[in-house]
Symmetry: C2
Subunit: 395 residues, 2 copies
């Protein structure tokens, strides 16, 4: 059956009504064979039960058969009981699908602190098992949404060398790196190439570093953030040697597309800020500078106001901790230089930028000096709607 | 003349109309004798001309006669020309008052990037000189305001030992550690005790560390932040030995009161969050935790929404970088424990906290474990009005 997915994978969704009814909130990805499996998890010290369980499984085995995601309940800050319920959900699923519980990688997103409703799992899992193979990528992406405004998924087929094309697909959810406002960042990427598990792990880590680790909505890292990658091999196309880098590039592009969607769908966001820092002493300093600018409330509100306020950018840079010589700094907004050699550029007329600032995508280019360090960050703006969404959350 | 100020000090204000007319925007504090002088300045790498000039003067001499502050123009990112104009303003002032330019400590706040209007200085300085001694503390505090909603000043008289009382006064401006939105943080504190300049410098540094360094509106540190302290000695009361600590305590209290006012007047703020972290491995970890919580957009919007959203606090703590055992963490909001031993507290009913959360002052107590580390931070909430003020700034 050609379901448009990478070969050897099936998707299923169901409604467990963890938080509300009338929408699917349970999603399963199943590989018809053991797939090379990798995962990356939140650095938050409070780690949700599915994060702990997912790590444990990936430490024990280089392969997996399935990814199981629920939205509505995060199963975070739930202690030993939370771990127990996570394992129960995996055992029930495994029983229905004829798998071992250790073959399934879990992820959850939703309200933290509450124990998962196991009756809801019991009711929904048989439906999920029965529907398996009927869901499309968009259904899967929709079932894992929380505050997301739109489902996020990418599908690619790519010829690598002279072989037949490899299929790769990715889904993500998240309206920010936001916690615990129902907006954990989760992603799953899967492909049908044959890849050595160790290589696959490295490819995924590199691709995540180049994509999800370079976006910021509000700087908050959740208790549940998880990215899983499965390479099932059903295409029969074996990737090794120089082809590995090509697969890595495609993987990175897929995750970059998903990462862009996360920022575009940032809570209340109207802009995607493309903050490009070059000329830093090293990449770490460039990253410090980009993150200071991209997380500055003053920069984010100025961009929302479509205000070419270079002073706020310069000020955020100045407190970033990055090493540089102020006299060598230059800043361009939407391609127009506003600041150079430590001073405002004289040739700029305020009205020039208005049409460019009215666009969704805003280029912000910072040159710190003449070093080799560079970093690019995608960030959202800070809007009235952001405050509304987050101050009216539970009241 | 008893002007209610510490003995030996006079104040003057004038309208230079740097940014708008109809209000005073130039302020001078004059000591009738050389006063022990100290200053603390922004850590931003872009340092305004008056910051560079103030540092220079304090390095060269342990005493000063005057502090000169203008609002409306920050004289930041103005290069060599900015330094020249800063020196000119000090030379003109010195000439009128019969001082040396090196006796005057400058500070500026306002829009950055523009060169100061020297004609405005020329017009206003004679008026300032003529009015000297007629201004009160509130006039001074009003003249240095920018986006501030109210003038910020504190006056105390304090008996230290058996001597006659010492007078101490402080003024501050700032609606946030905000840059360059016309809201740099500036403060001047002055007293009439006789204090050794080295001791005075240490006292001021300690008092600033315990006050202004523990407030945050939006995490942005401006190019112009400055705190000056003068101890003129006109009371004749000499402070040394064990009395030094008492003066330090009074000084700290004065700056704490001013710091509280800064947060209360934070742009758009409706709340003052008193974030108290204890039980950390060390003070630095406690500070990391407090700053992560106090700068989290999600915590700040939740407090604005009067929402007892402990999950956001716990999540911010988890990404703070502070070392702790999640199972030992406890969090109380307005005195009610919501989280302990790594889990939500079961005894809490949502409605209980509504009256407390409706107040302006919100207590947030975090215990990370059983270490000696502690830190207290005052922070503002994040509101619709904040976004309005900062997105409508120049458009």
């Amino acid at each position: 059956m050609d379901n448009g997915l990478p070969a050897g994978f099936r998707l299923g969704v169901a409604e467990a009504a963890f938080k509300k009814t009338g929408r699917n909130d349970l999603a399963l990805l199943l590989s018809d064979r053991p797939a090379a499996a990798a995962g990356l998890f939140t650095t938050n010290k409070f780690q949700a039960a599915p994060v702990l369980a997912g790590r444990e499984r990936l430490r024990a085995s280089p392969t997996a058969r399935a990814v199981l995601i629920n939205s509505g309940q995060a199963n975070a800050c739930t202690g030993e009981e939370g771990m127990l319920r996570c394992r129960q959900s995996l055992e029930m699923t495994a029983l229905l699908l004829g798998l071992s519980p250790d073959d399934i990688l879990p992820a959850s997103t939703g309200v933290i602190g509450a124990q998962m409703d196991m009756r809801a799992w019991e009711r929904a899992l048989p439906v999920l098992a029965e529907n398996l193979g009927r869901a499309e990528l968009e259904d899967f992406a929709s079932a894992i949404m929380t505050t997301d405004a739109f489902p996020k998924y990418v599908r690619r087929t790519q010829r690598i060398g002279n072989e037949k094309p490899v299929g790769i697909a990715g889904v993500a959810k998240g309206a920010g790196m936001i916690c615990p406002n129902m907006a954990t960042m989760l992603a799953v990427v899967f492909c049908d190439a044959v890849v050595d598990p160790d290589e696959w792990r490295k490819l995924l880590a590199g691709a995540v570093d180049a994509s999800f680790n370079r976006v910021s909505v509000d700087g908050d890292t959740s208790t549940n953030d998880t990215v899983y990658g499965l390479a099932g091999g059903a295409s029969g196309v074996s990737i090794s040697g120089p082809r590995t880098a090509i697969l890595g590039k495609v993987l990175t592009e897929v995750l970059e597309e998903l990462a862009y969607m996360l920022v575009k769908d940032g809570e209340g966001a109207t802009k995607v800020l493309h903050i490009d820092v070059v000329g830093a002493a090293n990449d770490a300093d460039a990253e410090r500078a980009a993150r200071a600018v991209g997380s500055s409330q003053l920069v984010k509100t100025a961009m929302y106001g479509e205000d070419a306020n270079w002073g706020r950018v310069i000020c955020a840079l100045g407190r970033s901790g990055a090493a540089f010589n102020p006299g060598e700094v230059a800043f361009s907004l939407c391609g127009v230089e506003l600041f150079s050699d430590g001073k405002p550029s004289s040739l700029y007329a305020e009205g020039m930028l208005a049409p460019a600032l009215a666009q969704r995508d805003i280029r912000m280019d910072l040159r710190l000096g003449y070093g080799p360090g560079r970093f690019r960050l995608l960030a959202s703006d800070l809007t009235h709607a952001y405050v509304s969404i987050n101050s009216d959350y539970r009241s």
